[in-house]
């Protein structure tokens, strides 16, 4: 990271004495100014409500010092906007990312019932002529849920058109399930989520690699949709390409797969041990997707290369009909022509719509790429709509 020029620091100090502190994490003046504005609002709010004895200026200075050391803004402010929701953030639980917001929103738009004008992945029901409310609920399972942001946002986006929902979030960390419950209550209280959400959303603590814990999701045998943003960073990438703030302040268990006898990934050709650790969750996710007979599977991956490796795993199962890679902003206006990429070397071709650039091996800049897949047609009644 290049040093901040002293002229910039001087310029910042002239505008506000605390700005230079914020320049350290923000690196540019306009971001620093924005963060100062938000920290100031928070300090004023705290002074009015919780600790009237402490002057807001003291709170503000304290917050700026913490921020300058790299503490994530979301932990200082305690919240992160996510769609129209406000997600509470606490140390020990991963902060929701904007990429996750984008793909969750896009998934929700694809899951709208068939009557909607856009193409739909809504699972076909045999009771097609019954009103939606009396049909079996749309069941969505989110693994490694963290703050619970994905289930909460899916509910907010789907419930207007899909009154019958059942969404469940699983995480290995008890801090996460506590926070997810808090987020559910908080967003119902603020009115961002409807009252029925209390009954339609649930969060449980479980280890997805443990067959004992599988009762959490295998209790009711089938789920329509499986979503996951699992830990996907390899140990080496954690040390080299992950930002210092994330490394120092966010929970490592949410970022780097913990490998033991249960989770040890199968050896794949041409993949070194370090990379294999980063991929460790995906075989397990595919296995669970098969167990629960999911019709739609959405997973976040680190970059294009990892996406290609995961597609390789998918092909090996021979259970999935189609696959897409979404990059950055799925659902945005499609400007560029489709590109074809060969995967698996066996003549399998996938057309990737728009905004995809082929990443060269040296390039780690590609942000989050995602996949959505549909199962092969197993029986006539289970065909997913497109």
């Amino acid at each position: 990271m290049p040093r901040l020029p002293s002229s910039l620091l001087r310029h910042a100090r002239r505008q506000h004495p605390l700005l230079p502190l914020l320049l350290r994490p923000c690196r540019d003046l306009s971001s620093a100014r924005n963060e100062l504005r938000w920290l100031r609002e928070k300090a004023l709010e705290v002074a009015q409500t919780t600790s009237p004895k402490t002057k807001w200026q003291v709170t503000l200075r304290q917050s700026c010092l913490e921020r300058s050391r790299g503490m994530p803004l979301q932990y200082i402010l305690g919240t992160q906007p996510f769609g129209n929701l406000e997600i509470l953030c606490r140390p020990g639980v991963l902060i929701p990312r904007p990429e996750t917001e984008a793909i969750t929103t896009h998934l929700a738009s694809l899951l709208q019932p068939p009557s909607a004008p856009t193409p739909s992945l809504y699972p076909k029901r045999t009771t097609k002529n019954k009103p939606l409310a009396s049909q079996a609920p749309l069941r969505i399972l989110d693994l490694c849920t963290g703050t619970g942001c994905i289930p909460l946002l899916l509910h907010a986006l789907l419930s207007p058109h899909t009154p019958s929902l059942h969404i469940s979030g699983i995480d290995i960390s008890p801090r996460s399930t506590t926070l997810a419950h808090k987020n559910l209550t908080h967003n119902i209280k603020t009115g961002s989520l409807p009252q029925p959400a209390k009954k339609q959303l649930s969060f449980h603590q479980a280890d997805i690699f443990s067959n004992n814990d599988s009762a959490q999701w295998a209790g009711h045998s089938t789920w329509d949709v499986l979503v996951s943003n699992p830990p996907y960073i390899s140990p080496c990438a954690f040390n080299t390409t992950t930002s210092r703030s994330v490394r120092t302040y966010e929970p490592k268990t949410a970022l780097v797969p913990h490998v033991n006898n249960n989770t040890a990934p199968p050896a794949i050709d041409h993949v070194d041990a370090d990379t294999a650790v980063g991929d460790a969750f995906y075989p397990r996710l595919l296995c669970i997707a098969a167990q629960i007979h999911a019709k739609v599977l959405l997973m976040e991956v680190a970059d294009f290369d990892q996406a290609v490796r995961v597609i390789g795993l998918l092909l090996a199962t021979r259970a999935w009909e189609g696959c897409e890679i979404w990059r950055d902003e799925p659902g945005a206006r499609k400007g560029r022509a489709e590109e074809e990429v060969v995967v698996g070397g066996g003549g399998c071709r996938f057309a990737f719509p728009s905004i995809i650039q082929k990443a060269t091996p040296a390039e780690h800049r590609s942000s989050t790429l995602l996949q959505i897949t549909q199962p092969r047609i197993k029986s006539k009644g289970m065909e997913a709509n497109r």
Partner: protein, 169 residues
């Protein structure tokens, strides 16, 4: 002016002109008919005409980095106008705000003095002029009352210093 500002916020939130009109009337009971004239509805821009650029820095993304802001940049393709909004931490809010500002700018460019923004500014300055006129009138009367026959109102003495200040303006 607080009422006008809250009406403006209500307009942003409520949207439909019919509702906004009702809010305006309640707040301006004493104004003349011209200032309560209905503002034209907001210009609605077609989504096909907007190109949204998602400002992504270089470097890794996803779990590897925690971004704190989500700037939204909109480009109106027919006119080439570009709006960038970084007002809030919420990307969905920034998108709404950017679309609203874009609509205002496009309308201003199209209609000029007839645009919503110009009309709003016109109404605001008219009200301000009318308010200062009334205030001047009031203090002038009190001055004349003070110099002429005694009115017997206790308030006249208290108002004297204020009246002198205004005279100097």
């Amino acid at each position: 002016m607080f009422l006008v500002n809250s009406c403006r916020t209500a307009l942003d939130v409520i949207g439909p002109t019919k509702h906004a009109y009702l809010v305006l009337r309640r707040g301006l009971a004493n104004s003349n008919a011209r200032t309560t004239a209905q503002l034209p509805p907001r210009l609605v821009i077609r989504e096909e005409d907007i190109e949204e650029a998602f400002l992504k820095g270089s470097g890794p993304g996803g779990q590897k980095i925690n971004k704190t802001s989500s700037a939204v940049q909109l480009k109106h393709i027919p006119t080439g106008t570009v709006i960038k909004s970084q007002a809030t931490r919420s990307r969905s809010q920034n998108r709404k705000i950017a679309r609203r500002i874009l609509a205002e700018k496009i309308e201003e460019a199209e209609k000029g003095p007839e645009s919503r923004a110009a009309l709003k500014a016109g109404i605001k300055s008219k009200k301000k002029a009318s308010k200062s006129k009334k205030a001047k009138r009031k203090y002038r009367k009190l001055e004349e009352g003070k110099n002429g026959p005694v009115e017997g109102k206790e308030g006249a003495e208290i108002d004297e210093p204020a009246g002198e200040e205004l005279e100097e303006e």
